[in-house]
């Protein structure tokens, strides 16, 4: 159903809001005696959602190349311009690709990071949608986000010790580690 409004000639600012959708705002210049049909498709605030986040290997060691795979889905019936933001909190940005996502389509992005440190880390993923007429200006606006914690451990070397004869006790850095 359309809303019919009479306005004076000149420039007017139209703002449209609905809970659960991004508010939009745009200007229109009208002439007296004319009729203007204005139609807009509102973008839900959950238009694109994150379906899956995978980190491989699941227990990485320092120096490993870590692969991050993110799958997002467009829940609407219109093609949307999207942006993915993938980063490790307080460490690095893994990627922030932009892409067009068709109606009801899914998209999988893969990025890599070489673990240059050990410890507990948090991977954050957010997906944004470009809202051309957003009341705060045309930009990307977040529709979903998530995080995944993982730990990068120290990579250990393996020492194989043999003695002749066998049965000797072995100490490494002053600590008994076993018998050959």
């Amino acid at each position: 159903m359309a809303l019919t409004v009479k306005v004076d000639p000149g420039k007017h600012t139209i703002r449209i809001t609905k809970p659960g959708y991004f508010p939009i705002k745009f200007d229109i210049t009208v002439e007296a005696g004319k009729t203007y049909n204005i139609s807009r498709t509102l973008i839900p605030t959950n238009a694109v959602t994150i379906q899956k986040v995978e980190i491989t290997p699941s227990s990485p060691k320092k120096g490993d190349k870590i692969t991050v795979k993110v799958t997002v889905k467009n829940n609407t019936s219109t093609t949307l311009k999207c942006r993915l933001r993938v980063w490790i909190v307080n460490v690095t940005i893994i990627g922030n690709p932009t892409f067009s996502l068709g109606a009801k389509a899914t998209y999988t992005w893969t990025g890599t990071w070489t673990a240059d440190r050990t410890g507990s880390l948090r991977l954050r993923v957010a997906v944004d949608v470009h809202v051309e007429e957003h009341e705060n200006g045309a930009d990307y606006y977040e529709t979903d986000s998530t995080y995944k914690d993982f730990t990068v451990s120290e990579r250990k070397a393996t020492i194989t010790i043999t003695t002749s004869p066998s049965g000797a006790s072995v100490y490494v850095d002053g600590k008994y580690v076993g018998t050959t």
């Binding site: 159903m1 359309a2 809303l3 019919t4 409004v5 009479k6 306005v7 004076d8 000639p9 007017h12 600012t13 139209i14 703002r15 449209i16 809001t17 609905k18 959708y21 229109i28 009208v30 002439e31 007296a32 005696g33 004319k34 009729t35 203007y36 049909n37 204005i38 139609s39 807009r40 498709t41 509102l42």
Partner: protein, 84 residues
């Protein structure tokens, strides 16, 4: 419904806020306005109304606003106008 063609109204009133008087009726007659129009103008000569009040369709535009989904609130120049 327009009782007078808007092109005639815009010629006989110099601005939308001009208050109707007998001179406007005479001018409408000279421009060949329909009898219905002249009668309407004549009837309103002493009403104190402006051209815009008498002929809003000649001085305003119509906006038909629709959204998908419907049920959205519409504000024009900061003033709430209704739901789509």
């Amino acid at each position: 419904m327009t009782k007078c063609p808007c092109d005639i109204i815009r010629q006989i009133f110099s601005s939308p806020n001009e208050v109707i008087n007998f001179g406007h009726v005479r001018k409408a007659y000279e421009l060949g306005a329909p009898k219905e129009c002249i009668d309407y103008l004549f009837k309103n000569v002493d009403s104190g109304k402006t051209a815009k009040e008498l002929f809003p369709e000649c001085y305003q535009a119509t906006l038909n606003i629709s959204t998908n989904p419907s049920g959205a609130s519409v504000y024009i120049d900061g003033v709430y106008k209704g739901l789509t």
